[in-house]
């Protein structure tokens, strides 16, 4: 079984984001960048399937500028066999990302595509579902458990109010949720070895995809802040305030 794992370079999850002075975007200058946390979970899941002998090859793919190859090296240090880098600077919309990934799916014919349910920058939660639609594949979103049985993927999903299990014919698209696994750290010898693993360089034009855009960002602003209120001294005072001042309980 061949697994394709798309990954994204994003602002590190521990960095407090700042809006640029002209309110046009979030300021990414001199900010630490990392692999999107949900993508790390996707890489880990693919590596575990290979360790179990279910997967035979894992191919990572990213779309981004030159620096995004760092995240491919990270993925390969964690156990991915080879990578594809689609060179494309700047932010592109989820639909264009899905079209680029579909072009790669057509070339590589993977049995499974595992990717993060969303990236922590755009918070769109769209690419996996869009890719599945474009490839006419079934989708198992927000997965917390993934098993391969009789040529189908059995995906346990986080849903509002509980859990759902679906069975998907392969090839299929699976998007990862937090509980799926706990990603490992790369070991130094593996980081060294990853430097020798191949990265294929492609452009959208090589794949016959024209990047289009139908959304225009008019502004990016900081949300209205919340200021600290008062410290009360007792349960009695708290309940009094909630009843008589805030009037939120009776």
């Amino acid at each position: 079984m061949k697994i394709l794992v798309p990954v994204k370079r994003v602002i590190d999850a521990n960095i407090k984001v700042r809006v640029s002075a002209d309110n046009s975007a979030v300021d990414l200058n001199n900010v630490k960048m990392s692999m999107n946390p949900f993508c790390e979970i996707a890489v880990e899941e693919a590596v575990r399937l290979k360790e179990k002998g279910i997967a035979s090859e894992i191919v990572a793919i990213t779309i981004g500028d030159e620096k995004s190859q760092e995240q491919l090296r990270t993925a390969m240090a964690l156990g991915v066999d080879r990578s594809i880098w689609i060179e494309q600077a700047g932010n592109i919309e989820p639909l264009s990302i899905a079209k680029l990934l579909k072009a790669v799916v057509d070339k590589e014919s993977p049995d499974l595509v595992i990717l993060g349910k969303q990236s922590i920058d755009g918070d769109n939660n769209q690419v996996g579902q869009m890719l599945a639609a474009l490839c006419n594949m079934p989708q198992g979103t927000f997965a917390y458990k993934l098993e391969i049985e009789d040529g189908r993927a059995i995906v346990s999903r986080e849903i509002d109010g509980g859990e759902q299990v679906v069975s998907l014919a392969l090839p299929a698209v699976v998007t990862t949720d937090l509980r799926l696994n706990e990603p490992r750290y790369a070991k130094l010898p593996d980081i060294m070895k990853a430097k020798k693993k191949p990265i294929d360089h492609l452009t959208p034009a090589d794949l016959g995809i024209e990047i289009s855009s139908s959304l225009k960002t008019l502004s990016v602003k900081e949300p209205a802040g919340r200021s600290a209120g008062v410290i009360v001294n007792s349960a009695q005072e708290l309940i009094d305030k909630l009843r008589n001042e805030a009037k939120v309980i009776s």
């Binding site: 579902q129 198992g140 917390y144 059995i154 509980g162 299990v165 139908s214 410290i231 939120v248």
Partner: protein, 310 residues
């Protein structure tokens, strides 16, 4: 032209979140239709028809729609889409699962998780876990939108009755099969829709201690929530998690008990109208967003509060 809202339901009962989506839809266009897709779900269509401002309900009642699988519902929505300028869904796990599939098949963008409608083509949505708000304009002829329901009020209902029209469309598919579902059963209001939420964090120390919160929740008519730390520690199920990666809530009153207030958690509750924090650590970041803070041992004050509410 009209706008279409895809109703959220369990085939028996309409989910009230649909009413919040209708409010957002009506800001785009006054002529709102609702699609109820499911199996044996005519009761849901009946209640959908009662929302103010809804002019038509489309009922797609087929066994293949029972579990709302996007592989089955996607083609149905595409079939109807050309009649509309916008299609809106709740940014719930069901809506998030379906909307991008529809958008991709229509070759249009999706606008996720909107919190405001500025104009029929311009929307505000949080990015970077709510640390920034982006205003985006779409030039697509059909806009596919998911709505953060906590940012919109529920539309009133019961004054009118819209006609119900049947949609005879079903696509049999076997690529995706429903296997099972396990839903938490609770007498309490649903977390995303409750007007009072009381959440516990690692400070509670054990699953048993969550029962103290449950007693209080029952007195207040509140839903129970939890921080990621409490979920990770196994005190409660993942479905109760409030935060960036869990539920996003904005109740009238949010009570955080034994929660330190990691950014992750704040992203899920900071739009609540009134926030109360109870924590023994006076330096906990939760106090920076709380309207009322009580620095105290929760095991001492929760019984006091319980007594005061009796």
């Amino acid at each position: 032209m009209s706008v279409l809202v895809i109703a959220e339901h369990n085939n028996k009962k309409l989910n009230a979140l649909t009413g919040n989506v209708i409010t957002a839809a009506a800001k785009i266009d006054a002529d709102v239709h609702i699609l109820v897709a499911g199996n044996d779900c005519s009761a849901v269509a009946e209640s959908s028809a009662e929302y103010d401002g809804v002019s038509k309900v489309l009922l797609a009642d087929k066994p293949s729609h029972e579990h709302h699988l996007p592989e089955s519902l996607g083609p149905l929505v595409i079939e109807l889409a050309t009649n509309y300028t916008a299609i809106l869904l709740a940014a719930s796990t069901t809506g998030k699962n379906l909307a991008p599939r529809v958008a991709a098949l229509l070759d249009v963008a999706q606008i996720s998780d909107i919190v405001a409608v500025e104009a029929a083509d311009t929307f505000v949505r949080p990015v970077y876990a709510g640390n920034a708000l982006a205003t985006v304009q779409s030039n697509d002829s059909i806009k596919i939108i998911t709505v953060r329901t906590s940012a919109f009020d529920e539309t009133a209902s019961g004054n009118t009755k819209a006609p119900i029209e049947y949609v005879d469309f079903a696509l049999e598919q076997d690529s995706s099969r429903f296997v099972s579902e396990n839903l938490a059963v609770s007498e309490r209001p649903e977390l995303a829709a409750a007007s009072i939420v009381i959440s516990g964090g690692r400070g509670l120390g054990s699953a048993e201690n969550f029962q103290i919160l449950e007693k209080l929740a029952d007195k207040l008519g509140a839903a129970i929530g939890a921080s990621r730390a409490a979920v990770d520690a196994g005190y409660v199920g993942n479905d109760l998690q409030v935060g960036q990666t869990g539920k996003i809530v904005a109740p009238d009153l949010y009570i955080a008990v034994g929660i330190s207030g990691a950014i992750q958690h704040l992203a899920g509750m900071k739009d609540s109208k009134v926030i109360v924090a109870i924590n023994s650590d006076a330096d906990a970041p939760i106090f920076q967003v709380a309207d009322y803070g009580l620095v105290a041992d929760l095991f001492q004050v929760l019984p006091e509060i319980d007594a005061l509410l009796s």
